[in-house]
Protein backbone atom coordinates (compact mmCIF):
# COMPACT_ATOMS: atom_id res chain seq x y z
CA UNK A 1 0.00 0.00 0.00
CA UNK A 2 1.20 3.49 -0.73
CA UNK A 3 2.28 5.33 2.39
CA UNK A 4 2.74 8.62 0.58
CA UNK A 5 1.06 9.71 -2.58
CA UNK A 6 1.60 12.90 -4.57
CA UNK A 7 -1.22 13.84 -6.90
CA UNK A 8 -0.61 16.35 -9.67
CA UNK A 9 1.63 18.39 -7.41
CA UNK A 10 2.65 21.77 -8.79
CA UNK A 11 4.64 24.59 -7.26
CA UNK A 12 5.45 27.89 -8.88
CA UNK A 13 7.67 30.67 -7.56
CA UNK A 14 6.52 33.77 -9.36
CA UNK A 15 6.92 32.79 -13.01
CA UNK A 16 9.22 29.84 -12.32
CA UNK A 17 7.61 26.42 -12.31
CA UNK A 18 9.79 24.55 -9.81
CA UNK A 19 7.61 21.44 -9.66
CA UNK A 20 5.23 20.67 -12.45
CA UNK A 21 2.37 18.21 -12.24
CA UNK A 22 4.23 15.49 -10.36
CA UNK A 23 2.32 12.38 -9.37
CA UNK A 24 3.95 9.43 -7.65
CA UNK A 25 3.63 7.00 -4.80
CA UNK A 26 5.96 5.71 -2.12
CA UNK A 27 5.13 2.32 -0.69
CA UNK A 28 5.68 1.32 2.91
CA UNK A 29 9.05 0.00 4.03
CA UNK A 30 10.86 1.03 0.89
CA UNK A 31 13.83 3.30 0.39
CA UNK A 32 13.11 5.64 -2.46
CA UNK A 33 15.71 7.85 -4.08
CA UNK A 34 14.79 11.14 -5.71
CA UNK A 35 17.46 12.10 -8.20
CA UNK A 36 17.96 14.68 -10.88
CA UNK A 37 20.30 17.50 -11.89
CA UNK A 38 20.74 20.68 -9.85
CA UNK A 39 17.65 22.85 -9.78
CA UNK A 40 15.38 20.01 -10.90
CA UNK A 41 12.96 20.69 -8.06
CA UNK A 42 13.85 17.85 -5.73
CA UNK A 43 14.21 19.91 -2.56
CA UNK A 44 11.03 21.74 -3.46
CA UNK A 45 9.16 18.41 -3.51
CA UNK A 46 10.50 17.67 -0.02
CA UNK A 47 9.50 21.12 1.19
CA UNK A 48 5.99 20.52 -0.13
CA UNK A 49 5.68 17.15 1.59
CA UNK A 50 6.86 18.53 4.93
CA UNK A 51 4.67 21.62 4.66
CA UNK A 52 7.56 24.08 4.65
CA UNK A 53 6.06 25.69 1.57
CA UNK A 54 2.51 25.64 0.28
CA UNK A 55 1.24 23.73 -2.72
CA UNK A 56 0.25 25.78 -5.73
CA UNK A 57 -1.84 22.94 -7.07
CA UNK A 58 -2.45 19.27 -6.43
CA UNK A 59 -2.56 17.36 -3.19
CA UNK A 60 -0.37 15.13 -1.04
CA UNK A 61 -1.71 12.21 0.95
CA UNK A 62 0.09 10.51 3.81
CA UNK A 63 -1.46 7.27 4.97
CA UNK A 64 -4.66 8.29 3.20
CA UNK A 65 -4.83 11.71 4.87
CA UNK A 66 -4.39 14.96 2.99
CA UNK A 67 -1.49 17.12 4.16
CA UNK A 68 -2.75 20.20 2.37
CA UNK A 69 -2.56 23.35 4.49
CA UNK A 70 -1.09 21.65 7.56
CA UNK A 71 1.71 23.36 9.49
CA UNK A 72 5.12 21.62 9.36
CA UNK A 73 4.90 20.99 13.11
CA UNK A 74 1.62 19.16 12.60
CA UNK A 75 3.01 17.09 9.75
CA UNK A 76 5.94 15.93 11.92
CA UNK A 77 3.54 14.72 14.54
CA UNK A 78 1.80 12.62 11.87
CA UNK A 79 5.09 10.79 11.39
CA UNK A 80 7.06 12.57 8.66
CA UNK A 81 10.52 13.75 9.70
CA UNK A 82 13.18 15.45 7.63
CA UNK A 83 16.75 16.63 7.41
CA UNK A 84 17.95 19.66 5.46
CA UNK A 85 20.21 20.00 2.45
CA UNK A 86 21.90 23.00 4.03
CA UNK A 87 22.37 21.68 7.55
CA UNK A 88 19.97 23.37 9.95
CA UNK A 89 20.99 22.29 13.40
CA UNK A 90 20.52 24.44 16.46
CA UNK A 91 24.16 25.41 16.24
CA UNK A 92 24.56 27.04 19.63
CA UNK A 93 22.86 24.24 21.59
CA UNK A 94 24.33 20.97 22.73
CA UNK A 95 24.13 17.79 20.69
CA UNK A 96 21.75 16.37 23.28
CA UNK A 97 19.51 19.46 23.15
CA UNK A 98 19.35 19.06 19.40
CA UNK A 99 18.11 15.50 19.58
CA UNK A 100 15.66 16.41 22.32
CA UNK A 101 14.01 18.79 19.86
CA UNK A 102 12.87 15.74 17.94
CA UNK A 103 11.17 14.37 21.02
CA UNK A 104 9.10 17.53 21.38
CA UNK A 105 6.19 16.35 19.28
CA UNK A 106 5.88 13.10 21.23
CA UNK A 107 5.78 14.83 24.61
CA UNK A 108 2.83 16.21 26.49
CA UNK A 109 4.15 18.45 29.28
CA UNK A 110 2.78 21.94 28.95
CA UNK A 111 3.64 25.31 30.38
CA UNK A 112 2.40 24.71 33.90
CA UNK A 113 3.77 21.27 34.51
CA UNK A 114 7.11 22.58 33.23
CA UNK A 115 7.00 25.73 35.33
CA UNK A 116 6.10 23.76 38.45
CA UNK A 117 8.36 20.78 37.75
CA UNK A 118 5.51 18.33 38.39
CA UNK A 119 6.21 14.58 38.78
CA UNK A 120 4.64 13.66 35.43
CA UNK A 121 6.88 16.17 33.71
CA UNK A 122 9.99 14.78 35.42
CA UNK A 123 9.12 11.25 34.39
CA UNK A 124 8.65 12.37 30.83
CA UNK A 125 11.99 14.21 30.87
CA UNK A 126 13.74 11.05 31.98
CA UNK A 127 12.11 9.00 29.23
CA UNK A 128 13.06 11.44 26.49
CA UNK A 129 16.63 11.75 27.72
CA UNK A 130 16.84 8.00 27.34
CA UNK A 131 15.27 8.12 23.91
CA UNK A 132 17.64 10.88 22.81
CA UNK A 133 20.68 8.89 23.96
CA UNK A 134 19.40 5.82 22.12
CA UNK A 135 19.18 7.80 18.90
CA UNK A 136 22.62 9.31 19.49
CA UNK A 137 24.10 5.86 19.98
CA UNK A 138 22.26 4.75 16.89
CA UNK A 139 24.18 7.22 14.72
CA UNK A 140 27.33 6.91 16.83
CA UNK A 141 27.47 10.36 18.38
CA UNK A 142 26.47 9.62 21.96
CA UNK A 143 29.91 10.35 23.37
CA UNK A 144 29.64 13.91 22.03
CA UNK A 145 26.33 14.64 23.72
CA UNK A 146 27.63 17.69 25.57
CA UNK A 147 29.37 19.36 22.64
CA UNK A 148 27.90 22.32 20.85
CA UNK A 149 26.27 21.10 17.64
CA UNK A 150 27.99 23.78 15.60
CA UNK A 151 31.41 22.54 16.70
CA UNK A 152 31.03 19.10 15.13
CA UNK A 153 32.68 18.19 11.84
CA UNK A 154 30.42 18.30 8.82
CA UNK A 155 29.75 14.57 8.56
CA UNK A 156 28.82 14.35 12.22
CA UNK A 157 26.42 17.25 11.80
CA UNK A 158 24.63 15.32 9.06
CA UNK A 159 24.39 12.29 11.33
CA UNK A 160 23.12 14.48 14.14
CA UNK A 161 20.36 15.76 11.88
CA UNK A 162 19.38 12.16 11.22
CA UNK A 163 19.34 11.38 14.94
CA UNK A 164 17.21 14.45 15.55
CA UNK A 165 14.75 13.38 12.86
CA UNK A 166 14.64 9.82 14.21
CA UNK A 167 13.81 11.16 17.67
CA UNK A 168 10.46 12.33 16.29
CA UNK A 169 9.62 8.63 15.99
CA UNK A 170 8.80 8.90 12.29
CA UNK A 171 7.18 6.37 9.98
CA UNK A 172 8.51 8.26 7.01
CA UNK A 173 11.96 9.81 6.91
CA UNK A 174 13.02 12.39 4.35
CA UNK A 175 16.75 12.95 3.84
CA UNK A 176 17.99 15.78 1.66
CA UNK A 177 21.52 14.90 0.48
CA UNK A 178 22.51 12.97 3.62
CA UNK A 179 25.96 12.17 2.22
CA UNK A 180 26.65 15.73 1.11
CA UNK A 181 30.02 16.87 2.40
CA UNK A 182 30.92 13.44 3.78
CA UNK A 183 34.21 11.73 3.06
CA UNK A 184 34.34 8.16 1.81
CA UNK A 185 34.62 6.61 5.24
CA UNK A 186 31.71 8.64 6.56
CA UNK A 187 29.60 7.69 3.56
CA UNK A 188 30.25 4.02 4.32
CA UNK A 189 29.10 4.57 7.88
CA UNK A 190 26.03 6.32 6.58
CA UNK A 191 25.22 3.28 4.45
CA UNK A 192 25.29 1.18 7.60
CA UNK A 193 23.01 3.63 9.29
CA UNK A 194 20.63 3.42 6.35
CA UNK A 195 20.57 -0.36 6.69
CA UNK A 196 19.75 -0.06 10.36
CA UNK A 197 17.00 2.46 9.65
CA UNK A 198 15.44 0.01 7.21
CA UNK A 199 15.42 -2.62 9.95
CA UNK A 200 13.34 -0.25 12.04
CA UNK A 201 10.60 -0.37 9.38
CA UNK A 202 10.91 3.30 8.59
CA UNK A 203 10.14 4.26 5.03
CA UNK A 204 12.81 6.51 3.59
CA UNK A 205 12.86 8.99 0.75
CA UNK A 206 16.18 10.60 -0.03
CA UNK A 207 17.85 12.99 -2.41
CA UNK A 208 21.46 12.24 -3.18
CA UNK A 209 23.95 13.08 -5.88
CA UNK A 210 26.39 10.31 -4.91
CA UNK A 211 25.22 7.68 -7.42
CA UNK A 212 26.99 4.69 -5.93
CA UNK A 213 25.34 5.51 -2.60
CA UNK A 214 21.94 5.79 -4.29
CA UNK A 215 22.38 2.52 -6.18
CA UNK A 216 23.36 0.68 -3.02
CA UNK A 217 20.77 2.07 -0.69
CA UNK A 218 17.60 2.61 -2.72
CA UNK A 219 15.18 0.03 -4.05
CA UNK A 220 13.20 2.48 -6.14
CA UNK A 221 14.22 5.66 -7.91
CA UNK A 222 12.33 8.74 -9.05
CA UNK A 223 14.06 10.98 -11.57
CA UNK A 224 13.24 14.65 -11.94
CA UNK A 225 14.30 17.17 -14.50
CA UNK A 226 13.06 20.74 -14.85
CA UNK A 227 10.32 20.20 -12.31
CA UNK A 228 8.98 17.13 -14.04
CA UNK A 229 9.11 13.48 -13.14
CA UNK A 230 10.78 11.93 -16.17
CA UNK A 231 11.28 8.34 -15.06
CA UNK A 232 10.90 5.93 -12.19
CA UNK A 233 11.72 2.33 -11.45
CA UNK A 234 14.28 -0.01 -9.97
CA UNK A 235 17.86 1.33 -9.83
CA UNK A 236 19.09 -1.10 -12.50
CA UNK A 237 16.38 -0.04 -14.92
CA UNK A 238 16.96 3.64 -14.26
CA UNK A 239 20.66 3.21 -14.91
CA UNK A 240 19.83 1.96 -18.41
CA UNK A 241 17.05 4.41 -19.16
CA UNK A 242 18.22 6.59 -22.08
CA UNK A 243 16.13 9.58 -20.98
CA UNK A 244 17.79 9.53 -17.59
CA UNK A 245 21.26 9.09 -18.98
CA UNK A 246 20.71 12.08 -21.17
CA UNK A 247 19.19 14.25 -18.48
CA UNK A 248 21.21 13.34 -15.48
CA UNK A 249 23.89 10.74 -15.61
CA UNK A 250 25.46 12.24 -18.71
CA UNK A 251 25.46 15.62 -17.12
CA UNK A 252 27.01 14.18 -13.99
CA UNK A 253 29.93 12.91 -16.07
CA UNK A 254 30.41 16.35 -17.55
CA UNK A 255 30.48 17.86 -14.08
CA UNK A 256 32.95 15.60 -12.38
Amino acid sequence: MALLSLQKVTKTFGGLVAVSDVSCEVSSDSVVGLIGPNGAGKTTVFNLITGSIRLTEGDIFFDGKSLKGLRPSRIVSLGIARTFQSIRLFQGLSVLDNVLSGCHCRMRSGLFSSLLHLPGQRREEKAVLERAMIELEFVGLAHLFRSAAGSLPYGDQRKLEIARALATDPRFLILDEPAGGMNEQETMTLREIMKAIRKRNITVMLIEHDMSFVMHVCDHLLVMENGQLIAQGAPQEIQKNPKVIEAYLGLEDDDE
Binding site: S52, R74, Q91, E130, T189
Partner: protein, 394 residues
Protein backbone atom coordinates in the same frame (compact mmCIF):
# COMPACT_ATOMS: atom_id res chain seq x y z
CA UNK B 1 39.63 18.59 33.52
CA UNK B 2 38.96 15.39 35.40
CA UNK B 3 35.54 14.37 36.58
CA UNK B 4 36.44 14.42 40.28
CA UNK B 5 37.71 17.98 40.24
CA UNK B 6 34.67 19.08 38.27
CA UNK B 7 32.30 17.71 40.87
CA UNK B 8 34.36 19.18 43.71
CA UNK B 9 34.26 22.54 42.03
CA UNK B 10 30.54 22.20 41.59
CA UNK B 11 29.87 21.49 45.26
CA UNK B 12 32.16 24.35 46.21
CA UNK B 13 30.15 26.56 43.90
CA UNK B 14 26.85 25.60 45.44
CA UNK B 15 28.23 26.12 48.95
CA UNK B 16 29.30 29.59 47.89
CA UNK B 17 25.81 30.27 46.53
CA UNK B 18 24.18 29.20 49.78
CA UNK B 19 26.55 31.47 51.75
CA UNK B 20 25.86 34.40 49.45
CA UNK B 21 22.11 33.93 49.73
CA UNK B 22 22.41 33.76 53.52
CA UNK B 23 24.45 36.97 53.74
CA UNK B 24 22.03 38.65 51.38
CA UNK B 25 19.06 37.58 53.52
CA UNK B 26 20.75 39.17 56.55
CA UNK B 27 21.36 42.46 54.74
CA UNK B 28 18.53 44.40 56.41
CA UNK B 29 20.18 43.72 59.81
CA UNK B 30 23.72 44.24 58.58
CA UNK B 31 22.79 47.51 56.92
CA UNK B 32 21.09 48.64 60.12
CA UNK B 33 24.45 48.29 61.90
CA UNK B 34 26.74 49.48 59.15
CA UNK B 35 24.84 52.27 57.44
CA UNK B 36 22.94 53.66 60.43
CA UNK B 37 20.42 56.27 59.43
CA UNK B 38 20.91 55.79 55.69
CA UNK B 39 20.03 52.09 55.95
CA UNK B 40 16.41 52.57 54.78
CA UNK B 41 17.70 54.39 51.74
CA UNK B 42 20.00 51.54 50.74
CA UNK B 43 17.27 49.03 51.35
CA UNK B 44 15.06 51.02 49.01
CA UNK B 45 17.78 50.87 46.40
CA UNK B 46 18.00 47.10 46.83
CA UNK B 47 14.24 46.85 46.54
CA UNK B 48 14.30 48.75 43.28
CA UNK B 49 17.06 46.47 42.01
CA UNK B 50 14.97 43.46 43.07
CA UNK B 51 11.86 44.72 41.35
CA UNK B 52 13.75 45.30 38.14
CA UNK B 53 15.31 41.89 38.53
CA UNK B 54 11.84 40.30 38.58
CA UNK B 55 10.88 42.28 35.51
CA UNK B 56 14.11 41.50 33.70
CA UNK B 57 13.84 37.79 34.55
CA UNK B 58 10.40 37.77 32.98
CA UNK B 59 11.65 39.69 29.96
CA UNK B 60 14.43 37.13 29.71
CA UNK B 61 11.86 34.47 28.79
CA UNK B 62 10.83 36.48 25.75
CA UNK B 63 14.07 38.17 24.78
CA UNK B 64 16.64 35.75 26.15
CA UNK B 65 15.15 32.33 25.58
CA UNK B 66 12.83 32.83 22.63
CA UNK B 67 15.07 35.54 21.15
CA UNK B 68 12.13 37.80 20.35
CA UNK B 69 13.14 41.45 20.21
CA UNK B 70 10.76 43.00 22.67
CA UNK B 71 11.36 46.50 23.96
CA UNK B 72 7.93 47.16 25.39
CA UNK B 73 7.97 45.28 28.65
CA UNK B 74 6.98 48.37 30.68
CA UNK B 75 3.53 48.15 29.07
CA UNK B 76 2.77 44.85 30.79
CA UNK B 77 4.28 46.10 34.04
CA UNK B 78 1.95 49.12 33.80
CA UNK B 79 -1.13 47.02 33.14
CA UNK B 80 -0.41 44.90 36.21
CA UNK B 81 0.13 47.95 38.41
CA UNK B 82 -2.99 49.72 37.20
CA UNK B 83 -5.25 46.68 37.40
CA UNK B 84 -4.15 46.11 40.98
CA UNK B 85 -4.50 49.77 41.90
CA UNK B 86 -7.96 50.07 40.36
CA UNK B 87 -9.24 46.87 41.96
CA UNK B 88 -7.83 48.03 45.26
CA UNK B 89 -9.02 51.63 45.17
CA UNK B 90 -12.32 51.32 43.36
CA UNK B 91 -13.42 47.85 44.38
CA UNK B 92 -11.68 47.55 47.72
CA UNK B 93 -9.86 44.32 46.94
CA UNK B 94 -6.93 43.60 49.26
CA UNK B 95 -3.83 44.29 47.21
CA UNK B 96 -2.42 40.76 47.43
CA UNK B 97 -5.70 39.36 46.14
CA UNK B 98 -5.31 41.41 42.98
CA UNK B 99 -2.18 39.55 41.89
CA UNK B 100 -3.96 36.90 39.79
CA UNK B 101 -6.06 39.58 38.10
CA UNK B 102 -3.02 41.73 37.38
CA UNK B 103 -1.08 38.79 35.96
CA UNK B 104 -4.07 37.66 33.93
CA UNK B 105 -4.73 41.11 32.49
CA UNK B 106 -1.10 41.63 31.51
CA UNK B 107 -0.89 38.13 30.03
CA UNK B 108 -4.11 38.62 28.12
CA UNK B 109 -2.96 41.92 26.66
CA UNK B 110 0.34 40.30 25.65
CA UNK B 111 -1.49 37.44 23.96
CA UNK B 112 -3.75 39.79 22.05
CA UNK B 113 -0.92 42.02 20.94
CA UNK B 114 1.46 39.18 20.10
CA UNK B 115 -1.08 37.21 18.10
CA UNK B 116 -0.91 39.20 14.87
CA UNK B 117 2.78 40.13 15.08
CA UNK B 118 4.76 37.09 16.23
CA UNK B 119 5.55 36.02 12.72
CA UNK B 120 7.46 39.28 12.20
CA UNK B 121 11.22 39.10 12.26
CA UNK B 122 13.46 40.87 14.77
CA UNK B 123 13.51 44.51 13.75
CA UNK B 124 9.83 44.72 12.82
CA UNK B 125 8.82 43.13 16.07
CA UNK B 126 11.00 45.61 17.93
CA UNK B 127 9.13 48.54 16.42
CA UNK B 128 5.73 47.03 17.19
CA UNK B 129 6.66 46.41 20.82
CA UNK B 130 7.93 49.95 21.21
CA UNK B 131 4.56 51.08 19.87
CA UNK B 132 2.77 49.07 22.54
CA UNK B 133 4.44 50.93 25.41
CA UNK B 134 3.51 54.26 23.91
CA UNK B 135 -0.08 53.21 23.29
CA UNK B 136 -0.48 51.98 26.85
CA UNK B 137 1.12 55.11 28.29
CA UNK B 138 -1.05 57.42 26.20
CA UNK B 139 -4.18 55.45 27.07
CA UNK B 140 -3.37 55.76 30.77
CA UNK B 141 -2.63 59.47 30.46
CA UNK B 142 -5.97 60.04 28.77
CA UNK B 143 -7.83 58.38 31.60
CA UNK B 144 -9.43 55.53 29.66
CA UNK B 145 -12.70 54.26 31.14
CA UNK B 146 -12.38 57.08 33.70
CA UNK B 147 -10.47 54.67 35.93
CA UNK B 148 -6.79 55.48 35.52
CA UNK B 149 -6.74 59.01 36.93
CA UNK B 150 -5.17 60.60 33.87
CA UNK B 151 -1.70 62.10 34.01
CA UNK B 152 -1.80 62.32 37.81
CA UNK B 153 -2.32 58.62 38.14
CA UNK B 154 -3.72 56.86 41.19
CA UNK B 155 -2.98 57.70 44.81
CA UNK B 156 -3.47 55.90 48.10
CA UNK B 157 -2.99 52.27 47.13
CA UNK B 158 -3.03 49.92 50.12
CA UNK B 159 0.00 48.30 51.65
CA UNK B 160 0.18 44.56 51.16
CA UNK B 161 -0.92 42.34 53.98
CA UNK B 162 0.34 38.78 54.31
CA UNK B 163 -1.48 36.62 56.86
CA UNK B 164 -2.46 39.64 58.89
CA UNK B 165 0.99 41.25 58.76
CA UNK B 166 1.07 44.62 57.05
CA UNK B 167 4.21 45.37 55.05
CA UNK B 168 5.11 49.00 55.57
CA UNK B 169 8.86 49.43 55.94
CA UNK B 170 11.66 48.93 53.42
CA UNK B 171 12.91 45.80 55.17
CA UNK B 172 9.47 44.24 54.86
CA UNK B 173 9.44 44.91 51.15
CA UNK B 174 13.00 43.65 50.93
CA UNK B 175 11.85 40.16 51.90
CA UNK B 176 8.74 40.30 49.74
CA UNK B 177 10.60 41.44 46.65
CA UNK B 178 13.70 39.31 47.00
CA UNK B 179 11.54 36.35 47.96
CA UNK B 180 9.79 36.83 44.64
CA UNK B 181 13.13 37.11 42.88
CA UNK B 182 14.09 33.74 44.36
CA UNK B 183 10.78 32.20 43.31
CA UNK B 184 11.21 33.60 39.80
CA UNK B 185 14.71 32.20 39.48
CA UNK B 186 13.58 28.78 40.63
CA UNK B 187 10.49 28.56 38.44
CA UNK B 188 12.21 29.89 35.35
CA UNK B 189 15.14 27.56 35.88
CA UNK B 190 12.75 24.63 35.82
CA UNK B 191 11.08 26.12 32.81
CA UNK B 192 14.39 26.37 31.00
CA UNK B 193 15.09 22.68 31.49
CA UNK B 194 11.71 21.60 30.20
CA UNK B 195 10.01 20.88 26.92
CA UNK B 196 8.58 24.39 26.95
CA UNK B 197 11.87 26.13 27.65
CA UNK B 198 13.71 24.11 25.04
CA UNK B 199 11.06 24.92 22.45
CA UNK B 200 11.77 28.61 23.02
CA UNK B 201 15.49 28.07 22.52
CA UNK B 202 14.90 26.12 19.31
CA UNK B 203 12.90 29.09 18.05
CA UNK B 204 15.75 31.42 18.91
CA UNK B 205 18.34 29.26 17.20
CA UNK B 206 16.47 28.47 13.99
CA UNK B 207 12.78 29.03 13.62
CA UNK B 208 12.47 26.95 10.44
CA UNK B 209 14.20 23.94 11.96
CA UNK B 210 12.15 24.33 15.15
CA UNK B 211 8.91 24.19 13.19
CA UNK B 212 10.19 21.21 11.20
CA UNK B 213 10.98 19.33 14.40
CA UNK B 214 7.41 19.71 15.60
CA UNK B 215 7.42 22.96 17.56
CA UNK B 216 4.38 25.05 16.74
CA UNK B 217 6.50 28.16 16.62
CA UNK B 218 3.71 30.74 16.55
CA UNK B 219 2.00 29.20 19.53
CA UNK B 220 5.20 29.10 21.56
CA UNK B 221 6.13 32.65 20.68
CA UNK B 222 2.74 33.86 21.86
CA UNK B 223 3.02 31.78 25.03
CA UNK B 224 6.45 33.25 25.71
CA UNK B 225 4.93 36.71 25.56
CA UNK B 226 2.02 35.69 27.76
CA UNK B 227 4.09 34.12 30.52
CA UNK B 228 6.66 36.94 30.50
CA UNK B 229 3.94 39.57 30.58
CA UNK B 230 1.95 37.85 33.32
CA UNK B 231 5.04 37.83 35.50
CA UNK B 232 5.62 41.51 34.75
CA UNK B 233 2.00 42.13 35.76
CA UNK B 234 2.71 40.52 39.12
CA UNK B 235 5.71 42.80 39.52
CA UNK B 236 3.33 45.67 38.77
CA UNK B 237 1.19 44.76 41.76
CA UNK B 238 4.21 44.77 44.05
CA UNK B 239 5.33 48.09 42.62
CA UNK B 240 1.91 49.71 43.11
CA UNK B 241 1.68 48.62 46.73
CA UNK B 242 5.23 49.65 47.46
CA UNK B 243 4.96 53.16 45.96
CA UNK B 244 1.28 53.64 46.92
CA UNK B 245 1.13 56.09 43.99
CA UNK B 246 1.39 55.28 40.33
CA UNK B 247 1.30 57.47 37.27
CA UNK B 248 1.82 56.91 33.54
CA UNK B 249 5.30 58.40 33.73
CA UNK B 250 6.52 55.46 35.83
CA UNK B 251 6.01 53.18 32.86
CA UNK B 252 7.47 55.04 29.94
CA UNK B 253 9.68 53.87 27.14
CA UNK B 254 12.88 54.54 29.11
CA UNK B 255 11.93 51.85 31.64
CA UNK B 256 11.51 49.40 28.78
CA UNK B 257 14.92 50.33 27.48
CA UNK B 258 16.53 49.80 30.87
CA UNK B 259 14.98 46.34 31.11
CA UNK B 260 16.17 45.54 27.61
CA UNK B 261 19.68 46.68 28.51
CA UNK B 262 19.70 44.63 31.72
CA UNK B 263 18.97 41.43 29.82
CA UNK B 264 21.32 42.06 26.89
CA UNK B 265 24.16 43.40 29.03
CA UNK B 266 23.88 40.74 31.73
CA UNK B 267 23.50 37.84 29.34
CA UNK B 268 20.30 36.90 27.59
CA UNK B 269 19.15 33.47 28.49
CA UNK B 270 21.26 33.36 31.64
CA UNK B 271 19.46 34.15 34.89
CA UNK B 272 22.67 34.89 36.77
CA UNK B 273 23.59 37.34 34.07
CA UNK B 274 20.19 39.01 34.31
CA UNK B 275 20.60 39.41 38.09
CA UNK B 276 24.05 40.88 37.57
CA UNK B 277 22.64 43.21 34.93
CA UNK B 278 19.96 44.40 37.37
CA UNK B 279 22.60 45.35 39.92
CA UNK B 280 24.74 47.10 37.35
CA UNK B 281 22.00 49.06 35.64
CA UNK B 282 19.77 49.87 38.62
CA UNK B 283 22.22 49.68 41.55
CA UNK B 284 25.47 51.21 40.33
CA UNK B 285 24.02 54.66 39.53
CA UNK B 286 22.90 54.91 43.17
CA UNK B 287 26.39 54.19 44.42
CA UNK B 288 28.00 56.68 42.08
CA UNK B 289 25.64 59.61 42.32
CA UNK B 290 25.79 62.14 39.53
CA UNK B 291 26.24 59.23 37.22
CA UNK B 292 22.48 58.83 37.32
CA UNK B 293 21.67 61.45 34.70
CA UNK B 294 24.12 59.97 32.27
CA UNK B 295 22.85 56.48 32.86
CA UNK B 296 21.35 55.91 29.43
CA UNK B 297 24.46 57.30 27.80
CA UNK B 298 26.83 55.15 29.80
CA UNK B 299 24.89 51.94 29.42
CA UNK B 300 24.21 52.65 25.79
CA UNK B 301 27.96 52.91 25.24
CA UNK B 302 28.54 49.79 27.34
CA UNK B 303 26.06 47.95 25.16
CA UNK B 304 27.84 48.95 21.97
CA UNK B 305 31.20 47.83 23.30
CA UNK B 306 29.61 44.64 24.54
CA UNK B 307 28.09 43.77 21.18
CA UNK B 308 31.53 43.96 19.63
CA UNK B 309 33.58 42.06 22.19
CA UNK B 310 31.12 39.88 24.05
CA UNK B 311 27.88 39.57 22.09
CA UNK B 312 26.42 37.02 24.51
CA UNK B 313 26.51 39.49 27.41
CA UNK B 314 28.63 39.47 30.58
CA UNK B 315 27.48 35.96 31.43
CA UNK B 316 26.47 34.28 28.17
CA UNK B 317 23.83 31.55 28.16
CA UNK B 318 24.92 27.95 28.37
CA UNK B 319 23.15 24.70 27.66
CA UNK B 320 21.79 23.38 30.93
CA UNK B 321 23.38 20.19 32.16
CA UNK B 322 21.05 17.21 32.16
CA UNK B 323 21.15 14.41 34.63
CA UNK B 324 21.32 11.45 32.28
CA UNK B 325 19.42 8.33 33.28
CA UNK B 326 21.36 5.09 33.68
CA UNK B 327 23.06 3.36 31.97
CA UNK B 328 24.05 6.43 29.99
CA UNK B 329 25.28 8.39 32.97
CA UNK B 330 28.00 5.94 33.90
CA UNK B 331 28.68 5.04 30.30
CA UNK B 332 29.64 8.59 29.31
CA UNK B 333 30.68 9.95 32.69
CA UNK B 334 34.40 9.88 32.22
CA UNK B 335 34.52 11.34 28.78
CA UNK B 336 35.98 14.81 28.63
CA UNK B 337 33.68 17.76 28.21
CA UNK B 338 34.04 18.79 24.63
CA UNK B 339 31.67 21.70 24.73
CA UNK B 340 34.37 24.26 24.15
CA UNK B 341 36.92 22.33 22.15
CA UNK B 342 34.59 20.22 20.05
CA UNK B 343 35.98 21.30 16.73
CA UNK B 344 39.49 20.71 17.83
CA UNK B 345 38.77 17.28 19.24
CA UNK B 346 36.71 16.24 16.27
CA UNK B 347 39.42 17.24 13.87
CA UNK B 348 42.01 15.53 16.04
CA UNK B 349 40.31 12.16 16.13
CA UNK B 350 39.90 12.31 12.39
CA UNK B 351 43.55 13.10 11.88
CA UNK B 352 44.49 9.92 13.74
CA UNK B 353 43.37 7.92 10.77
CA UNK B 354 40.39 7.75 8.50
CA UNK B 355 38.79 5.01 10.58
CA UNK B 356 39.09 6.58 13.97
CA UNK B 357 36.06 8.81 14.11
CA UNK B 358 33.65 6.98 11.86
CA UNK B 359 33.79 3.31 12.76
CA UNK B 360 34.41 3.85 16.43
CA UNK B 361 31.53 6.30 16.60
CA UNK B 362 29.05 4.12 14.84
CA UNK B 363 29.67 1.09 17.01
CA UNK B 364 28.83 3.31 19.90
CA UNK B 365 27.73 0.50 22.15
CA UNK B 366 31.37 -0.36 22.36
CA UNK B 367 32.48 3.10 23.25
CA UNK B 368 32.07 2.24 26.91
CA UNK B 369 33.98 -1.00 26.58
CA UNK B 370 37.03 -0.08 24.58
CA UNK B 371 38.35 -3.65 24.60
CA UNK B 372 36.96 -4.71 21.23
CA UNK B 373 39.14 -2.36 19.26
CA UNK B 374 37.95 -0.99 15.95
CA UNK B 375 35.04 -3.19 14.97
CA UNK B 376 34.17 -3.63 11.34
CA UNK B 377 31.35 -1.30 10.56
CA UNK B 378 29.38 -4.12 9.00
CA UNK B 379 28.96 -6.04 12.23
CA UNK B 380 28.45 -2.88 14.21
CA UNK B 381 24.86 -2.83 13.06
CA UNK B 382 24.28 -5.79 15.38
CA UNK B 383 25.12 -3.59 18.31
CA UNK B 384 22.28 -1.29 17.57
CA UNK B 385 19.23 -2.21 19.51
CA UNK B 386 16.49 0.14 18.60
CA UNK B 387 13.35 -1.61 19.73
CA UNK B 388 14.16 -0.70 23.32
CA UNK B 389 13.44 2.90 22.63
CA UNK B 390 10.55 2.58 20.27
CA UNK B 391 7.67 3.12 22.63
CA UNK B 392 9.38 5.05 25.38
CA UNK B 393 8.01 8.33 24.27
CA UNK B 394 4.53 7.33 23.28
Amino acid sequence: MSFASASRRKSFGSALTVAAVFVFACLPFLLGHLAGSSAPYWLDVLNTVGLYAILALSLNIILGHAGLFHMGHAAFFAVGAYVSAILNLTFDWPIMATIPAAALAAGLLAGLVAWPVVHLSGDYLLIVTIGIVEIVRIALTNDIFGLTGGPNGLVGISRPEIMGFRLTRPQHFFYLIWGLVAVSVLLFDWLERSRFGRALKYIREDVVAAESMGVNTNKYKILAFVIGAAWAGLAGTVYASRMRTISPESFNFTESVFLFIIVILGGRGNQKGVLLGSFLVMGLPEIFRGFENKRLLVFGAALVIMMIFRPGGLLPARSPGYKLPEPYRSRYKRLPDLSSGGVFNGAGSRANGPNASASEGFASGQAAAPSSGSGESSDSSKVISVDVGQDLVK
